[in-house]
């Protein structure tokens, strides 16, 4: 059967962008940040995740809000989260 050779238009992420930064073996007893995108339902989603994690693993919960949903979180806020948390959960619910 004949074939047609074509080139793939899709590009994958560069290796630097696809590495996971999470280096924790367990969340137990850790400081967990919850970053809202400042849309109303993000709070609902974050609370639904935070509550069982707090109950089951004893994580301490810290809430953050990035302000403008359409923009990246400010660098100062990311630095603050980096200092105050061991891991972060993001929610972008609309």
């Amino acid at each position: 059967m004949s074939t047609t050779t074509v080139l793939n238009p899709v590009a994958g992420p560069s290796p630097a962008l696809s590495e996971s930064g999470l280096g924790l073996d367990s969340l137990e007893g850790k400081r967990l940040g919850f970053l809202s995108n400042n849309k109303p339902n993000s709070e609902v989603l974050l609370e639904a995740v935070a509550k069982p994690l707090s109950q089951r693993l004893g994580v301490s919960i810290r809430g953050y809000n990035k302000g403008v949903p359409s923009l990246n979180a400010p660098a100062e806020l990311l630095e603050q989260i980096d200092k105050e948390c061991d891991a972060v959960v993001l929610a972008i619910n609309d």
Partner: protein, 368 residues
């Protein structure tokens, strides 16, 4: 280089690392398979065979493996070769490559906010405007129906840029592209500035760029919103119509500003200029008059605007009328179109600023 033979009934899309694909059947079968994998915009494509891609790369002034950057949100590497593959699919010609390369550079400006533009629920498309002699070299349309169909370069360049955003950047409709309704402008939104009929200096000159044979401007815009005024015969009256058209409660610029585009038809522009308005006068007028009074906005919506926009303490100084941008110069003014008394307003995503870049190889391009 990884090569594999793909049966037509295969379901799984190849990984991006698999560059060369042998698909069972003829070109029509390959195109059908690309559609099934979600590699197209739904319209028929030109099959990106190695020969066509190689010819396309010859229109670039950089080597095929060179990357122009990682396009968000996926972070796909925009090599010249990947740009060329998507250009072939869109029907581009090799001489279009420098325009696409400049556009790919432009969308990576930090203030353009590509990750937001690509993933938002807002229906923004990336408007691509070509300025300068290169637009004529490419036989682009800056006149009648310039936003519409019919011109090969306008249509194919706009389409190619959106395929690049989808296939390299990962703005895949329904996946990372979360647009609630989207826009027909996402099939392609490209035109040339009509500088020859503009009463004001060219758009690049207005932002301090001069001397190049060609520039591109990219902006994350809605499709053009028509502004009709056949009755007014003086500049202020036309500007009033423009301002009142822009003063809408539901546009995204009302949140955090960004820039926004007013694209005058030549007749409106010439009437406005004949009344003594320079481009900056027009920007000042529209900044002052294209405002939305708070009493036209629901309480809950106003609360959201003040929260996201962060301008509660400025509201009194604005007289309770919210401007669309944070300064007059963010209301971008240019001319395009043919005869007739229509202009257009292109609201943007808001959390974005446009970017204008020189088409680096346009001088060499003209000699091809």
């Amino acid at each position: 280089m990884s090569i594999r033979t793909v049966p037509l009934e295969a379901n799984a899309a190849p990984s991006p690392e698999e560059l060369e694909l042998r698909i069972a059947g003829d070109e029509a079968a390959a195109i059908e398979q690309y559609e099934a994998w979600g590699f197209t915009d739904g319209l028929p494509i030109v099959a990106p065979t190695p020969e066509r891609v190689e010819a396309m790369c010859a229109g670039a002034t950089r080597y095929p493996p060179e990357s122009l950057g990682d396009l968000m949100p996926r972070g796909g590497s925009a090599t010249v070769q990947k740009i060329a593959i998507n250009a072939v699919m869109a029907g581009c010609r090799p001489q279009h490559m420098p325009v696409l390369m400049a556009a790919v550079e432009a969308i990576q400006d930090d203030d353009f906010n590509l990750i937001g533009v690509q993933t938002t629920t807002h229906p923004c498309a990336v408007m691509l405007v070509v300025h300068g002699p290169v637009a004529d070299e490419l036989a682009m349309n800056s006149g009648h129906n310039c936003f519409g169909p019919g011109n090969p370069a306008n249509a194919r360049l706009g389409r190619a840029l959106h395929l690049i955003l989808q296939n390299i950047g990962g703005g895949v409709p329904g996946q990372s592209d979360k647009a609630t309704q989207g826009s027909p402008a996402k099939y392609g939104f490209c035109f040339a500035e009509n500088a020859s009929e503009s009463p004001w200096p060219s758009y690049p000159a207005s932002i301090g760029l001069e001397g190049g044979a060609g520039y591109v401007t990219v902006a994350a815009c809605e499709g053009p919103h028509n502004i009709n005024d056949h009755g007014s015969s003086d500049g202020e009256s036309i500007l009033n119509t423009v301002a009142q058209t822009m003063a809408t409660a539901g546009n995204n610029n009302l949140y955090v500003g960004g820039d926004t585009f007013v694209i005058f038809g030549p007749e409106h522009a010439q009437t406005v200029a004949a009344s003594g308005y320079s481009r900056s006068d027009v920007q000042d007028y529209l900044y002052e008059h294209a405002r939305v009074a708070t009493e036209r906005i629901s309480a809950a919506k106003l609360e959201e605007l003040l929260d996201w926009g962060g301008y509660a303490d400025q509201l009194e100084g604005w007289g309770g009328r919210i401007p669309l941008t944070r300064c007059p110069s963010d209301i971008r003014v240019m001319v395009a179109g043919g005869a007739g008394k229509h202009s257009a307003w292109c609201p943007t995503f808001g959390a974005t600023f446009s970017s204008t870049k020189v088409i680096e190889s346009s001088v060499e391009l003209c000699t091809i």
